[in-house]
């Protein structure tokens, strides 16, 4: 059973995530995947082994259950860990597999390119950088790296084009200026090269290697003194390029604990975006850290990054299928996506683990209401009401559930209590009035109070609902003439407002009133009032 649920969850997540990608290509089959030459962990330095082991174990476990893009992500995460610890062969294989399984994700060809670059396969690095930049056209550090590799290959026109892309976006980018300077130098355009190197140095004065280039350029221009002055300042620091993806990879060389502490600090400082990044690194290093994954997912959810949150809660469920918080969140996300039945299953799963949780029970009850399972919904609302005795909303919904279930004798005291808690609440007052007016067990006194309340409601706001309520209460008290008049007005308002779907119900009651009979139910079966609103897609969607 558990396995089925895991499988179903994973499959569902994979399906949803794949659907979320703007993919025109189907993920390719696993037959094309290459065998990853995992290093023997026993031979690694203890500190490296300690960092890699959780990732490898997690990956090994995931490898058997995942497929498609989700498996691609798992390969990618494993590759990042390997790359961070200089296990190039294994990293390369992981990234190539990730790129096959998750073909629309630009980070995999990018990291394949980095792997090729670091192992000296520069032509392949160029191809992979290009593949990455086709998928992620706006990732500027990629153009810088591509340009530098092209310079290494002496492919000056292509390098120039790569650097120019960056300068089109940021005309002051020191790395791109320096790259163009090298292109100019390579073409013996020394005046131009000098200008570009000078500008690059202006933008990034700490890039001491530019003094060397500038020195050689001055030398080529015959300005030996200037050349010497520059060369004396030469160092090895190249112009800085902010490359978030590689920073993320490099982050894996430190333990997860470091990033968890930093993430907690960021959260405490109210800096959620930074906290999210730090949790991402931590959970990439230690993929089975459920607490970190949960926190990450929750922060992502709160930030509107629903797809990411959904995926990370999915990762939690793959580790702990019964995790209540994850089941709850996945339920909410499925509900937002309109998959009510599946959502309810996740709420139930959450409640199996943590029955005291209010939110999943409320959402479950709401879902049951929408699916017409009123009695069961009522039981859940009742439990919540027990936990939250001061909640008017819960009391109201409980009352409505019993009304919908035809159990007005249980609904009436609940609604009466709700009305007592919120005397001015028109919605509660309407429900109570109609309940008293239609419930066979209502006393004459209750029916009289209902008529008084209905008249008061109508006086304040004479509309379709208050007219219908007044008609219902009048009929319950034998005032059929008033009931017919009020019902006629209700029908008129319905026609005027285009609420044709209400007409049948209104006319049935009209016939009852005309036949000197009271209404038998406060609302029609399945009326909108029995359907609490479902969650709507969040801002990140």
């Amino acid at each position: 059973m558990i396995f089925n649920r895991i499988t179903r969850a994973c499959s569902l997540l994979a399906m949803l995530l794949a659907a979320g990608a703007a993919s025109g290509q189907a993920a390719q089959g696993t037959a094309e995947l290459e065998l990853v030459p995992h290093p023997d962990l026993g031979q690694l330095k203890p500190e490296v082994r300690e960092l890699l082991q959780p990732a490898v174990e997690y990956f090994t476990q995931q490898r058997a259950t995942l497929e498609g893009r989700a498996l691609g992500l798992a390969y990618g995460r494993m590759g990042i860990n390997y790359l961070a610890h200089e296990q190039q062969e294994a990293a390369g294989a992981c990234f190539r597999n990730a790129a096959i399984l998750d073909p629309e994700n630009p980070r995999w060809p990018y990291l394949v390119a980095v792997h090729y670059e670091e192992t000296g396969f520069l032509d392949k690095a160029v191809d992979s950088y290009r593949a990455s930049l086709i998928l992620g056209k706006t990732y500027l550090p990629g153009y810088i790296r591509l340009g530098r590799v092209l310079l290494e290959l002496n492919r000056l026109p292509e390098a120039e084009a790569a650097f120019q892309v960056v300068l089109n976006v940021d005309p002051d980018d020191a790395a791109a200026l320096a790259g163009l300077g090298q292109v100019a130098f390579g073409r013996d355009e020394f005046d131009k090269a000098a200008g570009l190197f000078e500008r690059a140095l202006q933008e990034d004065p700490e890039a001491s290697s530019l003094h060397y280039r500038l020195g050689l350029t001055y030398r080529a221009l015959g300005q030996a003194d200037k050349a010497r002055a520059e060369l004396d300042q030469a160092g090895e620091r190249i112009p800085a390029t902010d490359d978030p993806l590689l920073a993320f990879v490099r982050g894996h060389t430190r333990g997860a604990a470091h990033y968890l502490d930093a993430a907690a600090e960021a959260e405490a400082a109210g800096n959620s975006p930074v906290a999210i990044k730090l949790y991402e690194i931590a959970t990439s290093i230690e993929p089975s850290n459920v607490d970190a994954l949960l926190r990450l997912a929750e922060l992502q959810g709160a930030a509107g990054e629903m797809d990411e949150a959904f995926m990370n809660f999915g990762r939690v469920l793959a580790i702990e299928p019964a995790n209540a918080r994850a089941n709850y969140f996945v339920g909410t996300e499925l509900e937002r996506r309109g998959q009510e039945t599946e959502a309810r299953a996740y709420y139930e799963k959450a409640l199996e683990t943590e029955p005291q949780l209010v939110e999943p029970r409320m959402l479950l009850a709401n879902g049951l209401m929408r699916s017409g399972e009123y009695e069961l919904a009522g039981e859940h609302y009742a439990q919540v009401a027990h936990q939250l005795p001061g909640s008017v909303d819960v009391m109201y919904l409980l009352g409505m559930a019993w009304l919908a279930a035809g159990e007005c004798q249980w609904a009436n005291p609940v609604l009466l209590r709700a009305a007592g808690m919120a005397p001015a609440d028109r919605q509660i007052m309407t429900a109570l009035t109609r309940a008293y007016s239609t419930c066979p067990e209502a006393t004459p006194e209750e029916r009289g109070k209902a008529l008084a309340a209905a008249r008061a409601l109508y006086d304040v706001q004479p509309d379709m609902d208050t007219s219908e309520t007044l008609a219902m209460a009048s009929a319950a008290n034998g005032e059929f003439e008033e009931a017919v008049d009020a019902q006629a007005q209700a029908i008129f308002e319905a026609l005027k407002n285009g609420a044709e779907d209400r007409l049948t119900w209104l006319q049935e009651n009209m016939q009852r009133y005309q036949a000197q009979q009271p209404a038998t139910a406060p609302w029609s079966a399945g009326a909108e009032v029995y359907r609490p609103e479902a969650l709507v897609p969040g801002p990140g969607r």
């Binding site: 290093p39 490296v48 610890h85 200089e86 000296g120 003094h211 050689l216 090895e236």
Partner: protein, 576 residues
């Protein structure tokens, strides 16, 4: 096409014999030997040297750095003899503690092999014992040169600690004159160069010192990404300055390291080459340093040197990065009449080619020349510009071997996971190189921890051969099988008294495309090369040639009517 290579061989070498056998048997000739440019003939020629590095599991830094080899004619019989530098135990451990037992009886010493070439057949005889050479130091490198102008080539041996100067008595024996000559250097020396820097007619000595290091105090434990321990690299900031000894001409030397300015720069020298880089006819000195900016000591003609490497563009690569330079060579690879520089580097750097503009200013053109990418995965050591196919263009050979354990070999539980294959690059004559290792023959498929390499015509057939010294491995004699197919001319340039090779002399072979070569023994890594000039004539091989010589003292001379296909001795002042 297939059988040309073997049939062109004029001597009945083992390789030729094998080829003949294949032909007779009707076997696939090309696959057997048709593609071999070089063939390893170490065992068939009797040069069965095995380097002992004394490793005992402690991973002492010096044990994987040696060692070198010298090609020199110690007995003046006209062919090249071989001197191979040997290691020892380190850290006071007994030989019994060695991971790989030495194949020689203790005490271990460097070994001298006499070349008994006869009728084209190459044969080496170990004459170490009778030569009197007892080299008990932990050997690194060797530089051959006739320091006392007596017509017999002497040897300066660099060691992990004290160096030795072996004077060639001329009777087949050597004597240790280190103390008398005053050229001991107790530091860790690797490469040295004999150069007459003051042009007084006596060879002076430049000694490249590596890093301050002590087995006793270097307690670092380095590890690869794997758990396994790994060799440590040089300590940052521990570079030693080099030494310059001026030859007084009386058998003694004066240490002029301070007064000459050499001590003004610290390095980590592994390769040294002397040449006139700015065309002023005074020898300059280029030093390849490990991980530290290289030095270009420009001769100020007054006994002093100035390090101009940075302005010259030869201190660091084109990215402004200091590289781990190991072996090197200077030569005119592009035929423009000046000395360019090539040096080997650490894995994941690239080998680097600095092109001279004629005035001693260089540009790193490694990428353009096609030399960067193919070297990325290798750690290069010994190297030289040689014209292996005698087409008139200087090719490159680099011998390789890592200094940090190679993960792929560790995975295979390799007991000494540093070995790599060597590489050969052909000068295409259009300003670029192409790696031709794949077609260089099975000798280039052998993976060893190569360090020193000395280049010279061992079998006197007019093409350059190579002796490679492999750390904790067998020395290899790579005989060139293809060069003798093309035209060539060999020149031995001698000083006016006819006794000594005129180190530093430059030769212009006056062809339609002039070819410039230099008399040199230095360069490569810890090794000493054949000082003779061997020039491939390519298509211009039929007629006699004229050569112009710029002698070490700056004077010029032209020698006319030199026939191709043989060696000539050219004595300064001897032109007719």
């Amino acid at each position: 096409m297939p059988d040309v290579i073997c049939s062109a061989s004029r001597r009945p070498t083992a390789a030729a014999g094998r080829c003949a056998a294949f032909v007779l048997l009707g076997l696939g000739f090309r696959s057997a030997c048709g593609g071999d440019i070089f063939v390893d003939e170490a065992s068939s020629t009797g040069l069965s040297f095995e380097h002992f590095n004394g490793m005992s599991g402690e991973l002492y830094f010096p044990e994987m750095m040696g060692s070198g080899v010298a090609l020199f004619d110690f007995d003046n019989d006209g062919d090249l003899d071989v001197y191979l530098v040997q290691g020892q135990m380190l850290g006071g451990k007994p030989v019994s503690a060695a991971t790989i037992a030495p194949r020689y009886p203790t005490p271990l010493t460097d070994r001298l092999y006499r070349n008994d070439l006869a009728d084209g057949e190459l044969r080496f005889t170990d004459v170490t014992e009778r030569s009197g050479i007892r080299a008990p130091g932990y050997g690194m490198g060797v530089a051959a040169g006739d320091y006392d102008n007596d017509g017999h080539v002497d040897l300066y041996v660099t060691n992990y600690q004290s160096n030795q100067l072996w004077r060639n008595r001329g009777d087949g024996t050597f004597e240790d004159v280190t103390a008398r000559a005053g050229v001991d250097d107790p530091r860790w020396s690797v490469s040295a160069s004999w150069v007459d820097y003051d042009r007084d007619g006596w060879l002076d000595l430049y000694v490249g010192n590596y890093f301050r290091h002590s087995i006793e105090t270097d307690r670092r434990v380095c590890r690869m990404a794997k758990q396994a321990r790994d060799y440590c690299g040089p300590l940052k900031g521990a570079g030693d300055p080099d030494s310059l000894f001026r030859n007084r001409g009386d058998g003694t030397f004066e240490d002029v390291s301070e007064s000459s300015g050499i001590h003004k720069a610290y390095g980590g020298a592994l390769g040294v080459v002397a040449a006139d880089f700015n065309g002023d006819r005074w020898p300059d000195i280029y030093v390849a340093n490990d991980g530290v900016a290289n030095q270009l000591w420009m001769n100020q003609k007054n006994g002093q040197f100035l390090n101009e490497a940075l302005l010259a563009g030869a201190a660091v690569n084109k990215d402004g990065m200091a590289e781990a330079s190991m072996g090197l060579d200077a030569g005119d690879f592009d035929g423009d009449g000046d000395e360019d520089l090539f040096m080997t580097h650490l894995r994941q750097e690239t080998n680097t080619l600095y092109v001279n503009d004629g005035q001693g200013w260089f540009e790193d053109e490694s990428v353009v020349m096609g030399l960067a990418n193919p070297s990325f995965s290798y750690t290069g050591f010994g190297t030289a510009w040689i014209d292996y196919d005698n087409d008139g263009w200087l090719d490159l050979l680099a011998v390789n071997g890592a200094v940090r354990k190679l993960p792929a070999l560790v995975e295979l539980d390799d007991p000494y996971p540093l070995h790599q294959t060597d590489q050969l690059f052909r000068n295409l004559g259009d300003g670029s190189y192409r790696e031709v290792t794949g077609s260089a023959g099975s000798a280039f498929g052998v993976s060893l921890v190569s360090r020193g390499a000395a280049f010279g015509d061992l079998d006197q057939d007019g093409d350059p051969d190579v002796v490679v010294s492999n750390n904790a491995g067998p020395a290899r004699v790579l005989l060139n099988e293809v060069g003798s197919r093309a035209g060539w001319i060999g020149l031995r340039l001698l000083t006016a008294d006819g006794r000594r090779d005129a180190y530093g002399a430059r030769v212009e072979v006056e062809l339609e495309r002039p070819l410039w070569r230099r008399v040199r023994a230095d360069g490569s890594y810890a090794s000493s090369n054949d000082p003779r000039v061997l020039v491939g004539l390519g298509t211009e091989s039929g007629r006699p040639v004229t050569v112009r010589v710029i002698w070490p003292d700056g004077s010029e001379e032209r020698f006319k009517g030199l026939s191709a296909g043989r060696y000539h001795e050219l004595r300064q002042g001897g032109a007719r």
